[in-house]
Amino acid sequence: MADFAAKAASSPVAATWRADLAAYRAVLASRIRAQRSYRASFTFDLISAGLITAVEFAEIWVLFHNVEVLGGLTLPAMMLVFGLAEMTFSIADLLVGHCDELPTYVRAGTLDVFYLRPQPVLAQLVTSNVGLRRIARVLGGLAIFSVGVVVSDVAWSVDKVALLLLVVPAATAIYASMFVTAAGLQFFLINGQEATNAFVYGGRYAASQPASVWPRSLLLVFGLAFPVVFTGYLPVLWLLDLPGPPWLPPWLAWACPLAAVWAWLLALGCWRWGTRHYQGAGG
């Protein structure tokens, strides 16, 4: 986004700015059309994506098959945590998840093409695809969240609705920043896709756990460095009027946007560091 802003500032006239946006719009529209044109393949992708949500939820359900309460949360409360995390992660994945492909470009040397075009590299990478199939996971997360709302008897009030309206975009931003952080680190790791994937997807895994079971070290990683605790656990404490552990008071949920800003600063730092380090493949 800093690249983006810098670019905007360097464009002398607003007309260029508009032309830039039109270019992105055209690219994105073509990506969406392309994915929908192979119907069978797209349907299969949708089913697979939906399966991810189902199985990830099954992992949690298996635990609650054995115990009633885990880390102070019951299954209905966990459905809220899971649904919120899954929904916001999947929106981020839909928008910027293809940053995962960066190592392929770096290794093959095709990233150089991105440098040649008159648009910021990050903006190009982000618009290089839209994972439309991930819509299945967004809907899956929403469905599980909705069922969670019904079975857990949330006592709705204005502040709870306001918090949700605040958390959904902020949590999405947190996940999106994690994809960008991972992409930035790829410039150094080259073959480390599995490693950074594990951070992004590990973060997602962490997000659907009751954070009260974590030791302090994990709290530092997933509460501070990659603040996924703001994307599910903390907001749900507030929604259900639960006390939470002493070191994670529910009112912290309101700091979700701050966490998002911090996560983006980290992401842009990593991205900038990575692109400066990149030497190109010659040619």
């Binding site: 199985v55 098959h65 590990g202 994990l218």
Partner: protein, 278 residues
């Protein structure tokens, strides 16, 4: 035509090229040290998350859950993290890309069995991950959370055998998945589905032993528990003696089935394959 050429050349069977592929695979991975260290960090972090939630579950269940106490559950967690690099849960393999691009025709020209060559280099690449990733994450886990391991020798010997079979089985499954690319234009959806089901049923997140009964039956009707859960059970001494031999026998049976399936699909795919150009 390609089929004739390669079959004529493949006549003298020798193990040496496959051994060389295995060594090359091992050395290839050693070139990406940063990636290996990154992998270790991720492995350990993921392990701590698993350890936190699973030990909380055992405690919430009253200190014992389906035969697991906390120490045994930690052994499950860290053996699993050590094995994560050894098997391919994601289902993605270079083979699928080569089938899609048509480069597979070149592979068919080589005087090697495609399946055996792939397996050899897979074993080499993955065994390497034990050094920078597998063993260190196990050690870190053992030191930080503690874990209960058997004191006899037998579980370790049988466990080593079981791990090698699990690795081969994992490759054989991924091979089948990727070779389907001969018939399907786009295998990504299938691959994603595979990674989700394989990860869940192999015991990557929660032990298959704590599933409800019907789900355990479902899991055991797939080869996936044999790719990870079985070697963990054998190594941790949860399954011993004749039972251990039995589960290793099950692993071997799955390996035979998936290798044979891969072989048949390769033969059929070869006839199906049309590559343009001369």
């Amino acid at each position: 035509m390609t089929a004739h050429v390669s079959r004529a050349r493949a006549a003298p069977v020798s193990v040496r090229p496959y051994w060389r592929l295995l060594v090359a695979g091992f050395r290839q991975q050693s070139a990406y040290l940063a990636a290996a260290i990154g992998g270790l960090v991720a492995n350990v972090t993921f392990g701590f998350l698993k350890a936190a939630i699973l030990s909380a579950t055992v405690v919430a269940a009253g200190g014992e859950l389906a035969g697991y106490d906390v120490g045994q559950m930690m052994a499950f967690v860290w053996l699993g993290q050590a094995m994560l690099g050894l098997i391919n849960v994601y289902g993605r393999d270079v083979l699928g890309e080569r089938v899609r691009s048509g480069d597979i025709a070149v592979d068919f020209l080589r005087p090697l069995n495609l399946q055996a060559a792939g397996l050899a280099s897979f074993l080499g690449q993955r065994l390497f991950t034990l050094l920078p990733r597998g063993l260190p994450s196990f050690l870190v886990g053992a030191l930080v959370t503690g874990l209960a391991m058997p004191t006899q020798v037998a579980p370790y010997l049988l466990g080593a055998v079981s791990v090698l079979i699990a690795m081969s089985l994992s490759y054989a499954c991924v091979y089948v998945l990727n070779i389907l690319g001969f018939w399907l234009v786009e295998t990504r959806g299938l691959q994603v589905g595979y990674s989700v089901v394989a990860g869940f049923f192999c015991g990557l997140y929660v032990p298959v032993g704590i599933f409800p009964t019907w789900l355990q039956v479902l899991a055991h009707s797939t080869p996936f528990p044999s790719t990870m859960m079985t070697p963990i059970n054998v190594l941790s001494g949860r399954v011993t003696g004749a039972d251990a031999l039995l589960v290793i026998g099950v692993q071997l049976a799955w390996l035979a089935v998936t290798l044979a399936l891969g072989h048949l699909l390769t033969r059929a795919g070869r006839r199906h394959l049309e590559v343009q150009g001369g």
